[in-house]
């Protein structure tokens, strides 16, 4: 085996805490949305970030992107620390590191025509002439499968699917290296979801993109990602190759999550679904292992001692008893 390429994105012990304030505006605690997360993404790879609402996966994505500033930890992009840059320097990094919102169509200014919207990223980050920009924009538009004629339309004159493609094209004009996709298929019908995922795949090939894929939908992550990180209350509980994690989940939370997904064919999986209760308030996390309040394996040690991520069976797991 050859030497693996250096990681494109390295996140080390990253934390993002939000202050909780009382009625007087005084801080009464911290919401530890992301609390000591480490991961690596190699060029050309797709890393899936899964978890339920409130687990911190979106905050993690936005912190990497620079929309939130990190409370602690490092973010290294292509070997360079980007978590503590000045605003101006940080804006320049946006050329290589892009973020796709849940509905990329909504990222278009409703009062701007498609043409200017697609030119804008190039105007911000490059000194290309108008003609050069135009060539680039047309090429990208073709790559997402839309005709040139759309350049003269307003977003509301396009269908939802077309808006989504334009939104992606806008990000691709800069030819970024890493793209963070935040819940890109949430709320879509299965057939539409399938065509969106197909588009992501073809764009990844065409533009040599690296993806961080944030989703609550396990089947989507399974279809798209080579690696997967499962998050629970601001922490990664299991991290490894997708096939391994899906076939033999080792963390009890991963096991429950997989067991909860309704499956077509065979027997009803929810009939004997065992996980009880709901996730605790992220502003008041349990001591020790954060999953212990719902965990079927929980013992005294879990309350006292926070389990570190440890290698096990080809992936890492944060559980004392996995």
């Amino acid at each position: 085996m050859s030497v693996p390429a250096p990681p494109l994105l390295e996140v080390v012990d990253l934390a993002r805490h939000f202050p909780l304030r009382n009625a007087f505006g005084r801080r009464v605690g911290w919401l530890r949305a992301v609390d000591g997360v480490s991961l690596e993404v190699r060029p050309g790879e797709t890393l899936g970030l899964v978890g339920e609402s409130g687990c911190g996966k979106s905050t993690l994505g936005k912190t990497v992107m620079g929309i939130h500033t990190p409370t602690a930890g490092d973010i290294r992009f292509a070997g360079r620390e980007i978590g503590r840059l000045s605003r101006r320097e940080r804006r320049a990094v946006a050329k290589d590191l892009q973020y796709v919102y849940q509905d990329p169509g909504a990222s278009l200014d409703p009062r701007w025509k498609i043409g200017p919207s697609l030119h804008e990223p190039l105007r911000i980050h490059t000194t290309l002439s108008r003609a050069e920009r135009d060539r680039e924009v047309r090429a990208i538009l073709a790559a997402v499968g839309l005709p040139d004629a759309h350049l003269d339309l307003y977003p509301h004159e396009l269908s939802g699917g077309q808006q989504r493609r334009v939104g992606l094209a806008r990000i691709l004009t800069l030819r970024p290296r890493l793209v963070i996709l935040d819940e890109p298929t949430s709320g879509l019908d299965v057939s539409v979801q399938a065509s969106v995922l197909k588009l992501f795949r073809s764009l990844q090939e065409a533009f040599a993109l690296t993806y961080v894929f944030i989703s609550h939908d396990l089947s989507v992550v399974r279809a798209m990602c080579a690696g997967i990180a499962v998050m629970y209350l601001g922490k990664i509980v299991e991290l490894g190759p997708t096939t391994r994690v899906f076939e033999t989940p080792r963390h009890p939370y991963t096991q429950s999550l997989l067991a909860a997904v309704p499956r077509i064919g065979g027997r009803r999986v929810t009939q004997d679904f065992a996980l009880e209760g709901e996730p605790p308030n992220p502003g008041d996390v349990p001591s020790g292992c954060r999953f212990r309040t719902r965990c079927p394996l929980a013992q005294a040690r879990c309350a006292a001692e926070e389990p570190p991520l440890r290698p096990l069976d080809g992936r890492t797991v944060a559980c004392h008893f996995a």
Partner: protein, 344 residues
């Protein structure tokens, strides 16, 4: 099984800027006593409109019922006196679980007050003479106590922690899963024959959804209540339903018992839809084309522009519903007879 609800040839139009949209186009639906029927389809197929039409709460002004009947236990709800339907059917024989448990409670009143308001008018113990005659009429004392007992009991049944305390709390103090448990409790309290559940788990996380599905199925089976369960998620339909009906552009395309529906689907749309669900193989299959406009729907079969099997006949002639086997109907000129996935 006895027939409980029969929708026949229901047509509903919505006024839009571009003309009337045929949101329901001669749809039929049957629900037997004690049966859980899933109504699946993609956004805009008309499943929510059908659920609201059965309940009689289509948006006033915009929606117009053009034809058809909604027979419930023998009476046509569309032709029955509206006051009678509101009094005896809605909230008593037919109840409702909404999609969004976050906004379906008034944020300003404790949930207990809202539940007791429901019970004041819709309690199964309210005989005709015992029902409050006006807004200011008192809640009959004896019934109040019995109703409150019933409320606490049902809250225990939906596994609401500390039921008596829960009644004093405001809706925003509950999590989404707990609120949906309250909604299920309220749907069961009047001891209805039919519950209409409109995407009740869409807003929930997957582990909470699993808990709610398990709970709902256990409670309705135990009580023998029929359920109409609309969802866009085929996996959810598989989990909870005895029978599944799939809708496309305002028409029902196929109706079959759950095993048949997922095992041997006959309609090309159903087969495409099932194939687009992501499986462990990692294959991604979409349905080419887009959902048609309901203002100017395609001629003949509404699915023909996207169908692999379409012929000249499909473009011209609207297919009738035909029975393939007992309980298995399909609206297609060329139904497929092969197990699921055979043509994917």
């Amino acid at each position: 099984m006895a027939e409980l609800l029969a929708v026949r040839g229901l047509r509903v139009d919505f006024a839009t800027d571009r003309g009337p949209a045929q949101v329901l186009d001669g749809i039929n639906l049957d629900i037997a006593t004690g049966e859980v029927v899933g109504l699946v389809g993609e956004s805009g197929c008309g499943k929510t409109t059908l659920a609201r039409a059965i309940l009689g709460i289509l948006p006033e002004g915009a929606a117009r019922i053009r034809a058809g009947e909604v027979r419930f236990a023998g009476t046509d709800l569309l032709r029955e006196h509206p006051a009678t339907v509101n009094d005896r059917i809605r909230g008593r024989a037919i109840t409702f679980i909404p999609q969004d448990p976050f906004t379906s409670f008034s944020p300003l009143f404790p949930v207990g007050a809202q539940i007791m308001d429901l019970m004041k008018w819709k309690s199964p113990r309210a005989r005709d003479g015992d029902r409050p005659s006006s807004l200011f009429a008192r809640y009959p004392r004896g019934r109040y106590r019995a109703d409150r007992e019933a409320v606490l009991e049902i809250l225990r049944a939906v596994q609401m922690p500390e039921p008596a305390r829960a009644l004093r709390r405001l809706p925003h103090e509950f999590s989404g899963g707990q609120r949906q448990r309250l909604m299920i409790a309220m749907a069961l309290l009047p001891q209805p024959d039919l519950i209409i559940a409109d995407e009740p788990t869409t807003a929930l996380d997957v582990t909470i959804q699993a808990q709610i599905l398990r709970l709902l199925r256990a409670l309705v089976k135990e009580r023998g209540v029929s359920v109409l369960f609309t969802t866009h998620d085929l996996g959810t339909a598989h989990e909870i339903c005895d029978r599944v009906v799939v809708m496309y552009a305002g028409q029902e395309m196929e109706a079959a018992p759950t095993d048949t529906f997922f095992g041997r689907p006959a309609h090309p749309y159903t087969r495409r839809l099932l194939a687009s669900v992501l499986g462990p193989d990692g294959e991604i299959r979409d349905i080419p084309g887009e959902v048609p406009s309901l203002v100017t729907p395609p001629s003949g079969c509404r699915f023909h522009p996207r169908c692999d099997y379409a012929t000249a006949e499909c473009r011209v002639e609207r297919p009738a519903l035909r029975a393939l086997a007992s309980g298995h109907g399909v609206r297609c000129h060329h139904p497929v007879d092969a197990p699921a996935g055979a043509d994917a």
